[in-house]
Symmetry: C2
Subunit: 222 residues, 2 copies
DNA sequence: GCATAAATTAATCACCTGTTTAAACAAGTG
DNA sequence: CACTTGTTTAAACAGGTGATTAATTTATGC
């Protein structure tokens, strides 16, 4: 029992044995993702994040140049994969099937439950700190793309010709996104189920509403 | 020029002449509404509110027992009138016209632009501090009511009989609410207009999508 | 082996937070 | 007049904030 403290301390000062370990950096990113997305940027302190990552608070400044930098890094790490996949999905194919697009979009939201929360907190909230970047890097490109696709469908005659493309965009986004951002409420006041079967029912229902809502009279939904 | 400071200070200590002035209290409530709804609870300090109200910070504790109490009072003052009106609107009439209901609901949102922001920040955001009360006092009553109304319309045969009432509720809320909470984004990426004409177009468009989406085949929309 | 660089710690910095206190002043009351 | 009550102020309080520093330990290059 000569040096009992050694066992309690996870890591003593000094350069670690292994080469360059991304342990500390990754632990900080993970803790930041959990805490920032749950409680928001201002509500979480650097000390809390460091404690959750079992790391010294000074490491935040060492690796990310402060709390702001950690936040930015966490946002990029969280958003980038999904974003690029979604944009690629829309950019690859020339003929876009709106139904398939909405379907995979909703599956992405259901598969990454932190996305709706992030959108609500950082994009839709007044003063959302990510709003500007979100508009520039994503919405600014995605929304006009979608409008173009819808406009073409209207011109071709697949959709009602009295539709406004922009407003139809909004309706589609509303139907596809809002159910997920309101999930914490609707599960409690409407008893919506979040399992796989419930998700599939939601998708089918939503697509049913939208497709009937935009279809020409002759082209009634199957 | 014996006591020049008197002119610079707006009010010296002591009981004011008039009876009980609600000036300070109201000034605090107004400043709180402006700042809280714009920047959120945590981002605004007591000193900022007091400064905006041109009042000593201690007045917050004197009148509202602290920042929390001021927040609660501000929420109640802001929500109560709209809330009671909306619930009364749904409770009075026995035969509910869904189209008229959605229409007036959207007009309320458009007429009180701070409501969408408040819902996003305090209800939909994770850790939204108003979420519990919102569910208990409003959504918990409003949503089941709406579901009942929709379910009856399905049973009567006005709507498709393969519709799920709960999911149809969500679709209606999505279509009616989301365009307003996403307005700061869509105005910039889709150029949506927010004037009276644009609002009317949005309402007509949204109702067109929804009513066609839920209508039976025979009962095609006008 | 020795100097240098990298990684980590404990301690501390200046500042801001919500709140509280003690006093000052004005009005009402006897 | 004295006394109490209500309102307001300036000042301070205890605690938390992000950021920084100096010291410490280890790994690496020569």
């Amino acid at each position: 029992m000569s040096r009992p403290l050694r066992l309690a301390v996870a890591r003593r000062p000094g350069r670690p044995r292994g080469g360059d370990d991304p342990q500390v950096r990754d632990a900080l990113l993970e803790a930041a993702r959990t805490l920032f997305l749950r409680h928001g940027f201002r509500a979480v302190s650097s000390r809390q994040i460091a404690a959750a990552a079992r790391v010294n608070p000074a490491m935040i400044h060492y690796y990310f140049d402060g709390k702001d930098g950690l936040y930015r890094a966490m946002l990029e790490a969280a958003i980038a994969p999904v974003l690029t996949r979604l944009v690629a999905m829309l950019g690859q194919q020339e003929t876009v099937d709106i139904e398939a697009l909405a379907r995979s979009y909703m599956r992405v939201l259901a598969g990454n439950p932190w996305i709706p929360g992030l959108i609500v907190r950082e994009v839709l909230s007044p003063d959302g700190s990510f709003r500007q970047a979100f508009i520039r890097d994503f919405a600014g490109r995605f929304a006009p793309m979608l409008r173009t696709v819808i406009g073409r469908e209207i011109d071709v005659g697949h959709l009602r010709d009295d539709l406004d493309p922009s407003l139809t965009c909004i309706s589609l986004m509303s139907l596809a996104l809002f159910p997920f951002i309101s999930l914490p409420i609707t599960t409690r006041v409407l008893g919506v189920e979040t399992n796989e079967a419930g998700l599939e029912k939601l998708i089918v229902h939503t697509l049913g509403i939208f497709l009937r809502g935009v279809a020409r009279k002759e082209t009634a939904h199957a």
